[in-house]
Each structure stands twice: as structure tokens, then as C-alpha cells.
């Protein structure tokens, strides 16, 4: 066992925190929330500009704030929080000291400097190039430099995570295999390393191009490699928030995976195939063959989608099994009706899971189909989809986890519990309407990243149908609701951490106890679940999902068959 490492045990959850890891988790989580606050303010002004009746900002400010909103949310908020989740899953869950805390602090500093540098570059103007910064449109050099520094810092964080796994194994801090949640976090870390490498491969030359050392960057090459960073970073989120779903099911219900083999196998499919999906952004590009597009956009025969469908069943399935074990066995859904809907840790996680599957998952497969992509490419449908995956899926899952971390990690009681109880509903359901109406507007052809769909002052304006304006109005209203929900999250979190009532617990000591294997459940004691039908309610829900999926998918083929012939 390590010398000089200090640990404390959280009395309620029994989790053991290493002091260095604890400080790092706090720093990363707090930095994440600060960028969430910034990104949230930007979200509000962007949405109020796209709401035609309000049309708040001028064109230059709209494009500037949209660039900052994209990077602050999709990159800075989420990756800061993910680094905290990685440290939690390695150090806290495995009861191990964190590897090389000093390097972890260096990584944090680089991330923070990078994020600030890029933000300053954007707000100075002349870098309103959107998150994607497609060449040959150029930003000022600090824009790229900040992203590169951030990426290097995040990479150090991933290595600290992997190093901690090595230490935990070497020092035998746990029995048997790592927990499923740690396995999922490892998946996220592996995807993150691939993602960050792709980002470095394209952003370093682009930085050199911006300072004049390289003369030409091929725009198609840029797109191909940049999306290895841009899309894959959202795949880190998928792996991370699925791990968080499993963690919350375990924390709230004591749920265990229906089977370790299936859930871990599904994570393995993510590692192997999820990254191929960066091809989704190239489906309407010239110069890339259909064979390449079909192979990659389908994550090799949709094996990664299959993995998500498996998690979508096993996470609620594990909750159902746990609830039935507690006696909620009436009918198909007593286990769900009697779930703690007033506990934001659970309600947020469940709203995240349903929204991710029904809204984000189905739309993602539709738009990731080679031919169907043509009828939504670059329309508002695209941000509609990824707000369902990244905001409802990832951000809401992280918010739910925060309500657990405030007492456990920050040792504070959650302030304003009444507000906190309603927060996931307001934020989640606001985002449901937001994502749906954005997709609706996209189906009607409304372009993304567009300041004025009225085309004022042009000689040949296009008149969008009234329904498109209605959709954009609803986008604006639901965005305001969701931003209020997000604001409540930040208020509760910040207030709890600064002024919340302290939770008393044991002090720090060098005492470290080994993590024991889970007790075998009754089902296993009877020789395994073969032949049993342990989660019929979840299975029925899954069939509803499949029906919605199939209907929506084929409706879009029908729609495609009615447009111009293209070949």
C-alpha cells in the first residue's frame, strides 16, 4: 500500500476518497460548471436570435456567440466534467490512490489555460468560425492554440486515469475484476485518447497554417480528420454517460448488471466500432465513395448501435430487477411507478435515458444513413439530434450525478431541495421539446447556423412555410425553459458548495480498505437467470422503442423516394 496517501470514507455511500483525487475531481467539476454557466448564457442569446419574433443579436454577434457556445458546451464543460468522472471511476470506485497527482494538476492547468485562450480569441472577434472551423475559413492563431493546449491537458488526464488502474491492480485495492462502471469509464478513456489524437493531427497543422508556416490545407482532408475529433468527442460522452447511468442505478437502487458479460460486451463494441461514426458528417461530401460511407456510417453493420440498444435495455432492466427484488412486483410497471421520482439523481438519469434513446438514438440512425442524410444534411435537424444526445443524454446524466456528488464528494447538503427536485423535469422536458422542434424545423429545410431565414435584403428570398416559423418559435420558448432549468442546476450546485450545510464524516487517515466483490444475488445462487424473464416491463418498453424506431425510419425512406431523382 502506498505511503502518505490520505483517504476518507463517505459514511453514507461507503465510498473511499483519496485526498489528492478528491481535490482534482472538485477542481475539474467546478471548472466544468463554470463553462456550463458561460455556455448556458450563450445558449440563451443564440436561441433568442433564432426565435424569429425576437431576433435578438446582430449577425456578427450571433455567429460569434454560436462559435463560443459550441466549444464551451461540447468541449470544455463536458470534458472537464468527464475528467472528474474518470478520476472518480478509477480512484474512488477502486479505492486506490490517484496516479501522479502533480501531472493531473498540470493537465488541469493546461486545460484551463487552453479553454480561456480559445474563449478570449473568440470574443476578440475574427474567430467566428464555428466549432468546426472548416478550412479555408481561418480563425486567429490563439483559437487553435487554446484547443491544442486543452487537448494536451485532457490527454494527460486520460493517462492519469490509466495509471490509476495500473496502481489499483498492482496494490490490490480490489478483488476480482474492476466494476462495470470503471469498465465503462475505461471505454470512454480509450475513445478519448483516439479523439484527442485526431484533434492534434488536424489542429496542429491548422495552427501552423494560421501563422503562415503551412500554405494549404485540403478542406476535405480537414473534414475527414477533424470529425475524428469532433464526432468522437461525443462518443466519449456516450460511453461516459452510459457508465454514469449504470452508476446511478447502482447508487439509488443497488441495481446490479443483469449480466456482466452482456454489458461489458456492449462497451467492447463501443471501443471497436463507435468511432467509425465520424463518417456521418461526410455523407453528402464529394470525393468519398459510397462503399466507404456505408461501411463507416453504419459503425460496421450497426454493431455500435446494437451496443446502445443493449445498454438501453440493461440499465432500466437492472433497475427493474432490483425493484422487483424489493417487492414491487405488481403488473408490468409497479417497479417504475414506485421509483423515487422526487429524487433528482434518479429522475434526471431516467429522463436522460429515455430522451437519449427515443430522440437522440432514432434520429441519429436516420441521419447517419447514407441516402437519408441528403434530406437533413446541415439543416437544424442536426443540432436537434445532438442536443438530444449531448444535452439530454450527457449533460442531464452529469447533472443527476452531481446531486449525488454534492454530499458525497463536496460534503455539503444539497441546497434548495425543492428546486433541485424539479430541476431535471424542467431542464429535461424543456430540452425534449427543444430537440423535437429543432428536428421539425430541419425537416422543413431550415438551415443550421443561419442568422435570418427571412433573407431580408436579398433579391431572391426563399419563403419558408409558416410551420417552420412556428417550429422556431417553439425552439425559442423551450430553450428559455431549459435555460431556466440549467440555471437552477448551477444555482443549487454553486450555493450548496459555497454555503451548504456541512455533512459530517470521518477525517482523513492513511487507512485503506480493500474493495470486496459484490454479494451473489438470490438469482445467481439458484444457478443463474437462464430461462427466467426477470424484467418484462423493460422488455415491453424496448419493444415500444423498436416500433417507434422502425416507423420513423421507414417514413423517412418514403419521404426520400418522393424527392428528385439523384444518381
Amino acid at each position: 500500500m502506498a505511503i502518505n496517501a490520505l483517504f476518507r470514507v463517505d459514511p453514507k455511500s461507503g465510498l473511499q476518497y483519496h485526498r489528492d483525487a478528491e481535490m482534482l475531481m472538485k477542481a475539474n467539476a467546478v471548472a466544468g460548471v463554470v463553462f456550463l454557466l458561460l455556455g448556458g448564457v450563450l445558449a440563451l442569446v443564440v436561441a433568442l436570435t433564432r426565435w424569429p419574433a425576437v431576433h435578438l443579436l446582430s449577425a456578427d454577434w450571433f455567429y460569434l456567440t454560436l462559435t463560443a457556445h459550441g466549444l464551451d458546451m461540447l468541449v470544455f464543460w463536458i470534458i472537464f466534467f468527464e475528467i472528474a468522472v474518470l478520476y472518480f471511476c478509477a480512484s474512488t470506485l477502486l479505492r486506490s490512490r490517484l496516479a501522479t497527482p502533480r501531472i493531473a494538476w498540470l493537465g488541469f492547468a493546461l486545460m484551463l489555460i487552453g479553454a480561456i485562450t480559445t474563449n478570449v480569441a473568440i470574443f476578440q472577434g475574427e474567430s467566428s468560425v464555428m466549432m468546426t472551423s472548416y478550412v479555408p475559413m481561418g480563425a486567429r492563431p490563439p483559437f487553435y492554440l487554446g484547443l491544442i493546449l486543452f487537448a494536451v491537458g485532457a490527454l494527460l488526464g486520460c493517462f492519469v486515469f490509466l495509471g490509476t488502474l495500473v496502481i489499483a491492480r498492482a496494490e490490490k485495492t480490489y478483488e476480482g475484476s474492476v466494476p462495470l462502471v470503471t469498465f465503462g469509464a475505461t471505454t470512454a478513456a480509450i475513445i478519448a485518447i483516439f479523439t484527442i489524437a485526431s484533434g492534434a493531427i488536424i489542429l496542429i497543422p491548422t495552427f501552423l497554417w494560421s501563422v503562415g508556416l503551412i500554405h494549404y490545407i485540403d478542406p476535405l482532408m480537414y473534414r475527414t480528420i477533424w470529425w475524428g475529433f469532433g464526432h468522437s468527442s461525443q462518443q466519449i460522452n456516450v460511453a461516459a454517460h452510459v457508465a454514469v447511468w449504470y452508476a446511478i442505478a447502482a447508487i439509488v437502487f443497488g441495481a446490479k448488471p443483469m449480466s456482466e458479460k452482456v454489458s461489458r460486451g456492449a462497451f467492447l463494441l463501443y471501443i471497436m466500432f463507435l468511432q467509425l461514426a465520424s463518417a456521418h458528417h461526410l455523407l453528402s461530401d464529394p470525393g468519398i465513395s459510397s462503399a466507404w460511407k456505408i461501411f463507416n456510417a453504419s459503425y460496421f453493420m450497426y454493431f455500435a448501435m446494437m451496443a446502445s440498444m443493449i445498454h438501453g435495455l440493461t440499465v432500466p432492466g437492472s433497475i427493474e430487477v432490483a425493484q422487483r427484488g424489493k417487492g414491487f412486483t405488481k403488473g408490468l410497471y409497479e417497479w417504475l411507478r414506485k421509483a423515487p421520482w422526487g429524487n433528482p439523481v434518479f429522475s434526471g438519469m431516467f429522463i436522460s435515458l429515455i430522451g437519449f434513446g427515443f430522440l437522440g438514438g432514432i434520429s441519429g440512425v436516420m441521419m447517419g444513413t447514407e441516402q437519408l442524410n441528403m434530406i437533413i444534411h446541415n439543416t437544424l435537424y442536426v443540432p436537434g439530434h445532438f442536443h438530444a444526445t449531448v444535452v439530454i443524454g450527457t449533460t442531464l446524466a452529469f447533472m443527476s450525478l452531481t446531486y449525488f456528488l454534492i454530499p458525497s464528494l463536496f460534503k455539503r447538503e444539497v441546497a434548495f431541495p425543492g428546486l433541485a427536485k424539479w430541476q431535471p423535469y424542467l431542464f429535461g422536458l424543456g430540452m425534449y421539446v427543444f430537440a423535437l422542434t429543432m428536428m421539425g424545423a430541419g425537416t422543413l429545410g431550415v438551415p443550421r447556423r443561419h442568422w435570418d431565414i427571412g433573407f431580408a435584403g436579398t433579391a431572391m428570398p426563399y419563403e419558408f412555410p409558416g410551420a417552420a416559423y412556428l417550429m422556431l418559435g417553439l425552439v425559442g420558448i423551450s430553450a428559455v425553459l431549459a435555460v431556466i432549468g440549467g440555471g437552477i442546476y448551477i444555482l443549487v450546485t454553486v450555493w450548496s458548495i459555497l454555503f451548504g450545510k456541512r455533512v459530517e464524516g470521518a477525517g482523513y487517515s492513511t487507512k485503506q480498505t480493500q474493495l470486496k466483490m459484490a454479494a451473489a444475488s438470490a438469482i445467481e445462487a439458484h444457478g443463474g437467470g437462464a430461462g427466467a424473464m426477470s424484467a418484462p416491463g423493460t422488455f415491453t418498453l424496448a419493444l415500444v422503442f423498436l416500433t417507434a424506431f422502425a416507423l420513423y425510419y421507414f417514413i423517412n425512406w418514403k419521404y426520400l423516394s418522393q424527392v428528385w431523382g439523384l444518381s
Partner: protein
């Protein structure tokens, strides 16, 4: 708490599967294959597919080729900027330029006739978005995409830019006419 604890058995990969998990995996697998084979199926039997034809080209050369077609087939011009309206014969190669912040020229096509439409960008990336059909293609500088289009309805269409291309992005909108056969 077990998803956050080590599995209860060291040899966890031999634990038998639950029946509903197994059924769901089988369903998901079949569904995955179906989704996958829909794409090649549509390439063979569907009528809306992207072509695989594309070339590298410089902005100057593309401009020159477009000008030749415009000189040959212009029937009138429109707007204060006198943008030519090009009515090519069915089956012809037609060119469209995307540049800051304009689509050039305006095309007039005949219903149920096929044309080889060429698209390229002169400066930044642009997005060809045909409304209200909602057909959307990425237009990349340095690359010339060739796609055979067959309009199936007459009317006045619009071409909107849906790839962000700078401060005037929202002013990049043009027309496209589809008329009955003459």
C-alpha cells in the same frame, strides 16, 4: 450496489444470460443487419443516391468551365445584378458556382429530364440546399461534384446556403426553375 462493485463471481463471463437479454440482442442484431442492407439495397433499387463522381479542380478552371456553359445556354438574366438564367438541353452538363455570397448562375431545367449537375465552391465551404425539396449537398472548394439530377415537379425552387460561410451567409440564396418540356 453492484455496478460499482467488482462482479460477484471471479469467472463472471460464464454466467448464463437472462432470457430477455438474449431475445433483445437477437432482435437488435437482426435490426442492425436490416438497417445496414437498406443502404446497398437503395443503391440498386432506389432512385435517390449520391454519385461517386468527383474531381479535384482549381477555382479558376471551374469558373472557366461554368462560363462556357453560361455563354452557350443563357436565355435571359434576372435581378439588378443581371444573374444569367441558363436553360441547358436535357442531358447536358450544367454548372453551378458557390461563392461569397452567391449561387451562380440561375438554372432552368425541364421536368422529368436528367442533367449532370456540377457543383464546386470558389472560396469557403458552402452548402447546397434545394428548397422546398430539402435536398442538401456539401460544396467543398477544390472539389467538383457531379451528380445526375432529374426534377420531378415544376415550379420555382430556391437554393439556400446551409454551410456557414461568414457574415453574409444568410444572404446567399438563389432560385432554380423547373418548367414543363418545351
Amino acid at each position: 450496489m453492484s455496478a460499482i462493485l467488482p462482479p460477484s463471481k471471479r469467472i463472471w463471463w460464464k454466467q448464463p444470460l437472462d432470457k430477455i437479454e438474449l431475445t433483445w440482442i437477437a432482435i437488435a442484431f437482426v435490426w442492425s443487419l436490416l438497417l445496414f442492407f437498406m443502404m446497398p439495397y437503395w443503391h440498386v433499387f432506389g432512385k435517390q443516391n449520391l454519385s461517386n463522381e468527383a474531381y479535384r479542380i482549381s477555382a479558376e478552371n471551374y469558373q472557366k468551365k461554368t462560363q462556357e456553359v453560361v455563354d452557350k445556354y443563357t436565355v435571359r438574366d434576372e435581378t439588378d445584378q443581371k444573374i444569367p438564367v441558363v436553360h441547358p438541353p436535357p442531358g447536358a452538363d450544367v454548372y453551378m458556382i458557390a461563392r461569397l455570397w452567391q449561387w451562380w448562375p440561375i438554372l432552368e431545367l425541364e421536368k422529368d429530364q436528367s442533367y449532370r449537375l456540377h457543383l464546386s465552391a470558389m472560396d469557403y465551404q458552402h452548402g447546397f440546399s434545394l428548397q422546398p425539396s430539402n435536398i442538401n449537398l456539401q460544396v467543398v472548394p477544390g472539389y467538383e461534384m457531379v451528380i445526375t439530377v432529374t426534377p420531378n415537379k415544376t415550379g420555382t425552387y430556391s437554393v439556400v446556403c446551409n454551410e456557414y460561410c461568414g457574415i453574409g451567409h444568410h444572404t446567399m440564396v438563389s432560385r432554380l426553375y423547373v418548367v414543363d418540356k418545351k
